[in-house]
């Protein structure tokens, strides 16, 4: 993507480029143009709003819990559930109550609204950190593979193929308990061992697509004049990689990040269902796992986390699609 391509495209589209003065347009960077296109996309803005709400819920989970007068993980099976393990207030046996707007969890008596708020926090935290780490790994390996001809390239390409061949879920369920076991011995990590193990696994299996993409881009960019000029000037390789090549790769990196974030959220919930995942703190996937046998009697228990995951992933997917379109000079909207 060159600046001129974007400018020609941007100038043709009246919706994207409302002010016709061409002198102003000439000064805009590709990033600015993409942001302006995104801003005029109503679907993208609505989705961004939805995502923002989830982010705020995740950040202010403790505050929200206080606001609703609920507490996380405070259930007492003796006082909060009856002899059949049903909650003593709220659904499924009683009506709506403000004491527990989403009801209490059968068996444990934990408040489901508080679980939901903190579940959003876990989900976004794990997905964001794992996506950032896998993006960094993918970019660095892609740069190395694309820029070094010969062994570096072959090695990274082989590693990419290898990781694509590994049965991800099987490896995840086999390795995760081992990591947790090992890290539990470290007292500093005791509480977070399962969280860190999950992030590590999601990161280790998340970088291959981006590495391939970046490698392809770099292979074509490295033949261009500005890279040649930089090399002739005697610029050190790391400077060429990070100062010259990297800025040209912003578009694919942003697009890949925004599309792999929802995929990671879904993967986190999926692993939680298989028993690999965070323990000791609320998570939507874990709630779904516990709620599945109650689908008939107590649908709210099952549907609160499902709605959370589906709405968040859907909004992020649409936003990611919009970001891809905004960065793509060839897309006609």
């Amino acid at each position: 993507m060159t600046v001129s391509e974007v400018l020609i495209k941007g100038g043709r589209d009246p919706e994207i480029n409302p002010e016709p003065s061409s002198s102003e347009v000439a000064g805009r960077s590709p990033m600015r143009i993409a942001m302006d296109r995104l801003r005029s996309d109503k679907v993208a803005m609505v989705c961004a709003g939805i995502v923002l709400v989830f982010v705020l819920i995740a950040i202010f989970a403790p505050l929200l819990c206080k606001l609703f007068g609920v507490e996380v993980r405070a259930g007492d099976p003796v006082t909060d559930t009856d002899s059949f393990n049903y909650p003593v207030i709220g659904p499924p046996n009683y009506g709506f109550t403000w004491e527990a707007p989403l009801g209490l969890e059968p068996n444990s008596g934990n408040d489901l609204l508080a679980e939901w708020f903190y579940g959003a926090r876990t989900s976004l935290l794990v997905a964001t950190v794992a996506t950032i780490v896998s993006t960094i790994v993918g970019v660095v390996l892609g740069l190395i593979a694309g820029y070094s001809r010969g062994w570096g390239d072959r090695l990274v390409t082989f590693a990419t193929d290898l990781f694509l061949t590994l049965p991800f879920l099987l490896v995840a369920i086999a390795v995760s308990p081992m990591l947790v076991e090992r890290w539990k011995e470290n007292p500093a990590m005791l509480d977070n061992a399962s969280l860190i193990a999950l992030i590590v696994i999601l990161s280790v299996f998340g970088w291959m697509g981006l590495a391939r993409l970046i490698r392809g881009e770099v292979v074509s960019l490295r033949e261009r004049e500005f890279i040649e000029a930089a090399r002739v000037l005697g610029m050190p390789t790391h400077r060429i990689l990070f100062r010259e090549l990297l800025p040209n790769l912003v578009a694919p990196i942003v697009v890949s990040f925004s599309l792999s974030l929802p995929a990671t959220i879904a993967a986190e919930a999926t692993l939680a269902y298989l028993g690999v995942g965070v323990t000791g703190r609320p998570s939507w996937g874990q709630t779904i796992l516990r709620a599945q046998n109650w689908f008939d009697e107590y649908p709210l228990f099952l549907y609160a986390p499902i709605v959370g995951i589906v709405v968040l992933v859907f909004a992020l997917n649409l936003l990611g699609d919009a970001i891809r379109d905004a960065f793509d000079p060839k897309s006609f909207r």
């Binding site: 082989f158 290898l162 694509l164 049965p167 991800f168 090992r182 919930a269 999926t270 779904i288 499902i306």
Partner: protein, 330 residues
């Protein structure tokens, strides 16, 4: 062509080699203690656990253990746990810590169900996804096109295990339309086999087909804009021939590639389907084994899945080179 096949074969073998080394290394360096998994502390004394560790030869360097494991697969070997000794015939993947049976005997009957689910779901994906994509491509820009593509986006946002779970809960458990009695062997009764697997196929197929619908639509539209399609139109060929013979043939090549790469994911994706529907496949066995720290079973299921994925990728690549002459020539 020959060079291409050889190169692909070598890289596939290399991948398998690295994976098998990783699997054996997992056994050696993995933090969970095999002796403790086999025989927990109150049941066995510390001396007996030490004896087991020695019998398993865990102190030997990794290349020795790797050699033993691989030669076991080819020739079979004898495995001793303390005083007990087991004859493990080829192909020997070790002896289960928990059930004390030959792992291969334990899992060989479980490959069938897993492959049945994955292949059936794969066929369903193509049968649903490709026609929907063709339908949308022929009516591109219309409201029918937009509705179909919008629906695929919504379906894609539902994590697929949720989709399968909800299908199971409502259609099998709730409404009772579909059976929920797990896997029926194909050799007993093909009809029962297909009926028991119909809902898993439909659920797994539908949720994965959305990507293929969008992909087919994209590459069909691209093909419609090609010169040879315009030529076919101007020759006055019937629309059906143009779509099915000319455009689809070009559009299907990238779909086959993606499908081949996805098949591995599909194979591991059957883990949920097996867990949710109670199908006694490889995935369910692996899940149980993880819960019990039964390392030989974990190793064997991981290795066998990797072999199946590598073989599918190889077949797809070769098939691809037959379909698309440009791959052979480059």
């Amino acid at each position: 062509m020959f060079g291409f096949v050889v190169r692909r074969l070598i890289s596939a073998l290399l991948v398998l080699f690295v994976i098998s080394v990783a699997v054996v290394a997992l056994f050696t360096y993995g933090p969970s203690d095999p002796a403790d998994a086999m025989c927990p502390e109150p049941k066995c004394t510390a001396e007996r656990q030490d004896a087991i560790r020695e019998a398993l030869n865990l102190e030997a360097p990794i290349y020795v253990q790797y050699g033993e494991y691989m030669s076991g697969i080819v020739n079979g070997r004898e495995i001793a746990f303390g005083s007990e000794s087991y004859d493990c015939d080829a192909p020997c993947f070790g002896v289960s810590f928990i059930y004390r049976v030959n792992v291969w005997d334990d899992i060989k009957d479980r490959i069938g169900p897993t492959v049945s689910v994955a292949v059936g779901a794969g066929v369903t994906i193509l049968l649903i996804g490709v026609p929907i994509g063709m339908f949308a491509a022929r009516r591109r820009g219309s409201s029918a096109d937009k509705a179909v593509i919008g629906a695929t986006l919504v379906i894609e946002s539902i994590p697929y295990y949720l989709f399968v779970l909800l299908a199971f809960l409502y259609l099998a458990v709730g409404a009772g339309i579909f059976p929920q009695d797990g896997y029926q062997p194909l050799t007993d009764s093909p009809l029962k086999w297909a009926w028991a697997l119909l809902l898993p196929w439909l659920a797994l197929g539908l949720v994965n087909s959305s990507k293929y619908a969008r992909f087919t639509r994209g590459s069909m539209i691209e093909a419609f804009n090609e010169d040879y399609v315009r030529t076919a139109r101007s020759k006055g060929l019937p629309e059906r021939t143009i779509v099915n013979k000319h455009a689809l043939r070009a559009a299907v090549v990238p779909i086959v590639t993606i499908f081949g790469l996805d098949f591995g994911a599909l194979l591991t994706g059957t883990i949920f389907t097996e867990k949710i529907f109670g199908i006694n496949g490889l995935g369910l066995r692996a899940l149980d084994a993880v819960g019990q720290s039964d390392l030989p079973v974990i190793e064997a299921t991981t290795l066998i899945s990797a072999v199946i994925i590598v073989i599918t990728n190889l077949v797809v690549d070769l098939f691809y080179s037959v379909l698309d002459p440009r791959v052979r020539l480059s």
